[in-house]
C-alpha cells in the first residue's frame, strides 16, 4: 500500500546526502536512548524506550497526545532525569555533560512561545551562541559569523533587526530554528515546529528542517501529521503509551495498520504519483 518514500517531495537532490549517509551502513549513532523509563509520581510515562539518532537523518516522532513524546524529548534534553536506562551522546551519558556541554551537542527548538521581553530577531539568534561563549560578555567575530549564517539559512537575514514578537508564527519558528543552528550542535530536537502554522509556512519550516538534516545534522522532530513525516522524514519512530511500536525508514514503517493501532480508528493511505497520502 504505502510505497518507499525516502526522498522528499522537492526532488531527489535534497535528501541525497542523507541517503548516502544511510548507505554507509547506518552511520554511528550521535545520540542513543537505551531502555529509558520515566514516571511522574506513580504514573509511568516512558516504559522502556530505545531510540538512536544518526547524523544526516531526519527522524520523525509520531504518536497520539499523551504518548510520551514530550517526556522523551525532555529526557533527551536533560530537563528530566530518567528513572532507569541511559541516554548517551557518543559513549557519554548526558547526565555527566552538564548543561553547557550538553547544549553544545544538542539544540532544541521549542513550541511556539511569546517572549516576555521584546528581543529582536538577531538577539534571539545570538542567544544560540551561549554554549560557545567564553568569560567575556561580548560576542566574538566567530559568533557573529555563525549568527549571520544561521539567519541566512532560514532566509531571515533581512529581518534581523525586527522585533521577534512582531513576526508571523512561521517566521518565529524559523527564528528558533536559526537559533538552534547558531548553536552549532550535532543534534537538533524540534517539538511540533509546525503546529498552528498555515499550509505554506508548514512547508517552509519542513523544507528548512529537511535541508538542515541533509547537511549532516541528526534531527528529531515531533509532529502530529503522518503525511508530513511521510513526505519529509527519513526515519520514523512511533510511540504509544510510553512504548515504541515501530521504528525504521518511513516508507517501510508507516502503514495503515500502524496508524490504526496508534490512533485507534479507521485510516486509509493512498499513493498518488510520487507521494503517499494518509486520509480518514
Amino acid at each position: 500500500m504505502v510505497r518507499q518514500m525516502a526522498n522528499g517531495p522537492f526532488g531527489e537532490s535534497q535528501s541525497a546526502p542523507a541517503l548516502a549517509e544511510m548507505a554507509k551502513g547506518g552511520a554511528e549513532a550521535l545520540l542513543s536512548v537505551e531502555d529509558v523509563r520515566f514516571s511522574y509520581g506513580a504514573k509511568e510515562v516512558l516504559k522502556g524506550v530505545s531510540l538512536s539518532v544518526t547524523a544526516g537523518t531526519l527522524r520523525g516522532l509520531l504518536g497520539p497526545n499523551g504518548s510520551g513524546k514530550t517526556t522523551l524529548f525532555k529526557c533527551c534534553l536533560g530537563f528530566l532525569k530518567p528513572k532507569s536506562g541511559a541516554i548517551k551522546i557518543g559513549q557519554k551519558p548526558i547526565g555527566e555533560l552538564g548543561p553547557k556541554r550538553l547544549a553544545a551537542k544538542v539544540a532544541y527548538v521549542p513550541q511556539e512561545h511569546h517572549p516576555s521581553f521584546p528581543y529582536s530577531v538577531r538577539e534571539m539568534v545570538e542567544m544560540g551562541r551561549a554554549p560557545h561563549r567564553g568569560a567575556l560578555p561580548m560576542l566574538t567575530k566567530r559568533d557573529h559569523e555563525a549568527v549571520e549564517m544561521a539567519l541566512g539559512r532560514v532566509g531571515l537575514a533581512d529581518r534581523a533587526n525586527e522585533n521577534y514578537g512582531h513576526l508571523s508564527g512561521g517566521q518565529r519558528r524559523l527564528v528558533l530554528v536559526a537559533r538552534a543552528l547558531a548553536q552549532e550542535a550535532e543534534i537538533m530536537f524540534l517539538d511540533e515546529p509546525t503546529s498552528s502554522l498555515d499550509f505554506s509556512n508548514q512547508l517552509i519550516v519542513w523544507e528548512t528542517v529537511r535541508s538542515i538534516a541533509s547537511q549532516g545534522l541528526g534531527v528529531v522532530i515531533c509532529c502530529h501529521d503522518p503525511n508530513h513525516i511521510l513526505w519529509f522524514c527519513d526515519e520514523v519512530a512511533a510511540l504509544k503509551n510510553g512504548r515504541i511500536l515501530a521504528d525504521g525508514p518511513v516508507g517501510s514503517t508507516i502503514d495503515r495498520e500502524l496508524l490504526q493501532t496508534l490512533y485507534g480508528r479507521e485510516i486509509h493511505a493512498e499513493t498518488i504519483g510520487p507521494r503517499t497520502f494518509i486520509y480518514p
Binding site: 525532555k74 534534553l77 530537563f79 547544549a103 517572549p115 542567544m127
Partner: protein, 339 residues
C-alpha cells in the same frame, strides 16, 4: 552601528548623572556656592585643608551632610534598579520589582519591632536588614518543592510572606505610642534624612560588587527570561543562575532599604526606561537602569529636601512621579514595545 550607538547613549546617561551630582551638593537650605563646593570636594578627596573662603558650617554641611546623602541616593538608586532588572528577568514578568519576595515588608516589620521594642532589638537598621533577608529566605524556602523552585510559586510565597510581615507591622502600629507610630510611619515612607558616612560606605560596599555580578550575569538573565527549559537547552543551569542573581540583588536591596526605608517604584520604573532606550538585552539594561535609577533618586531626593522648608519623605516624591509614568508606559508604550 548598534553597539556604538548604545555605548554613546550609555556615556551620555553617565554624563547626566555626573552632571546631576554637583547641583545636588549645591542645592539646599544653607547657601553654598558652586566654587565653594568644588573647593571642599577637591580638598577632601586629596585629604587636604579646605580653602580659606569656606566656613566651618559650610564644610560640615557639604561634606558631612550632603555628600553621604548624595552617595546613598546614588547607591540606593543603583541597587533598587538593578534588582528590578534582575527580578523582572528571573521571573519573566516585566511588572515585578525587588519587593516581590518580601524585602520591603520584612524590613518594615524589623524596623517597627525595633522602634516599638528598642530594648529587645538593637537599632532600626540592623533589625530591618535581618528581617528583610529573613522574609526573602522564608519565601524562597516555601517555594521550594522537591528541589525545584518555580517562578510562580516564588512570587506567590513572596506575597504570602509579605502579608504575614505586614500583619506584624500592623500589630506594632497598634501597640505603638504616638511618637513611635510617627517614627514607624516616617520610616515606611522612606527617606535619606539622617544619612551618615557610615551608611554611605556600607551601601557602597554592598552595591558595587552586586552591580558587577549582575552586569556580568546580564547575558544569563537574557537566557533566563526565555524560560527555564529554553535556558537549559542553551546551556545555563536556570536554578543556580536564578539563585545567584536573586541572592545578589536582594542583598543590595535589603542593605539600602534597611538604611533609608521603603522607596517604591524605582525598581519598576528604571528597568522599563532603560529598555525603551536600549532594547531588552540585559547586558545594556543593567548598567543603563543603574545609571537612570541613580540619577532619578538623586533628583527626587534633591527635590524632596529643597521644594519646601520642611523635608518631604523621598518615597512620596518617587511615587508621585513614578505612578503616572508607569501608567503612561502601560497605556501608550506597552502595546508598541511588548506587543
Amino acid at each position: 552601528m548598534i553597539f556604538k550607538r548604545k555605548l554613546g547613549s550609555l556615556l551620555i546617561l553617565f554624563a547626566l548623572l555626573v552632571g546631576a551630582f554637583f547641583p545636588a551638593l549645591i542645592a539646599g537650605a544653607y547657601d553654598v556656592t558652586a566654587g565653594q563646593v568644588a573647593g571642599i570636594v577637591w580638598a577632601k578627596v586629596r585629604d587636604k585643608q579646605v580653602p580659606a573662603n569656606v566656613t566651618r558650617a559650610q564644610e560640615v554641611i557639604v561634606w558631612r551632610i550632603r555628600m553621604p546623602r548624595v552617595i546613598l541616593a546614588i547607591t540606593t538608586g543603583v541597587a533598587l534598579s538593578v534588582a528590578g532588572v534582575a527580578y523582572q528577568g528571573c521571573f519573566r514578568n516585566p511588572l515585578v520589582e525587588p519587593y516581590i519576595l518580601g524585602v520591603s515588608s520584612g524590613a518594615a516589620c524589623g524596623a517597627s519591632l525595633a522602634i516599638v521594642f528598642p530594648r529587645v532589638f538593637p537599632g532600626n537598621q540592623p533589625t530591618a536588614f535581618v528581617f528583610a533577608l529573613m522574609a526573602v529566605f522564608i519565601s524562597y524556602s516555601l517555594a521550594r518543592n522537591r528541589g525545584l523552585i518555580s517562578p510562580v510559586a516564588l512570587v506567590l510565597s513572596g506575597i504570602i510572606v509579605g502579608a504575614l510581615f505586614s500583619a506584624v507591622v500592623s500589630i506594632m502600629k497598634y501597640l505603638a505610642a504616638d511618637t513611635q507610630l510617627r517614627e514607624i510611619t516616617f520610616w515606611m515612607m522612606g527617606g535619606l534624612y539622617y544619612t551618615t558616612w557610615a551608611d554611605a560606605r556600607l551601601s557602597i560596599l554592598a552595591v558595587i560588587p552586586v552591580f558587577a555580578v549582575l552586569w556580568y550575569m546580564g547575558w544569563h538573565l537574557n537566557l533566563l527570561s526565555l524560560g527555564d527549559e529554553e535556558a537549559r537547552s542553551l546551556g545555563v543551569n536556570p536554578t543556580l543562575c536564578r539563585l545567584i542573581i536573586i541572592v545578589a540583588s536582594t542583598l543590595a536591596a535589603s542593605v539600602c532599604v534597611s538604611i533609608c526605608g521603603i522607596i517604591a517604584w524605582v525598581g519598576l520604573m528604571t528597568p522599563h526606561a532603560a529598555r525603551m532606550i536600549f532594547g531588552p538585552d540585559n547586558r545594556w539594561v543593567v548598567p543603563a537602569a543603574a545609571i537612570l535609577g541613580a540619577a532619578y533618586l538623586l533628583a527626587c531626593d534633591t527635590i524632596a529636601r529643597t521644594l519646601t522648608m520642611a523635608e518631604i519623605p523621598l518615597g512620596i516624591i518617587t511615587s508621585i512621579l513614578g505612578a503616572p509614568y508607569l501608567l503612561w508606559l502601560l497605556r501608550d508604550k506597552g502595546r508598541e514595545i511588548y506587543g
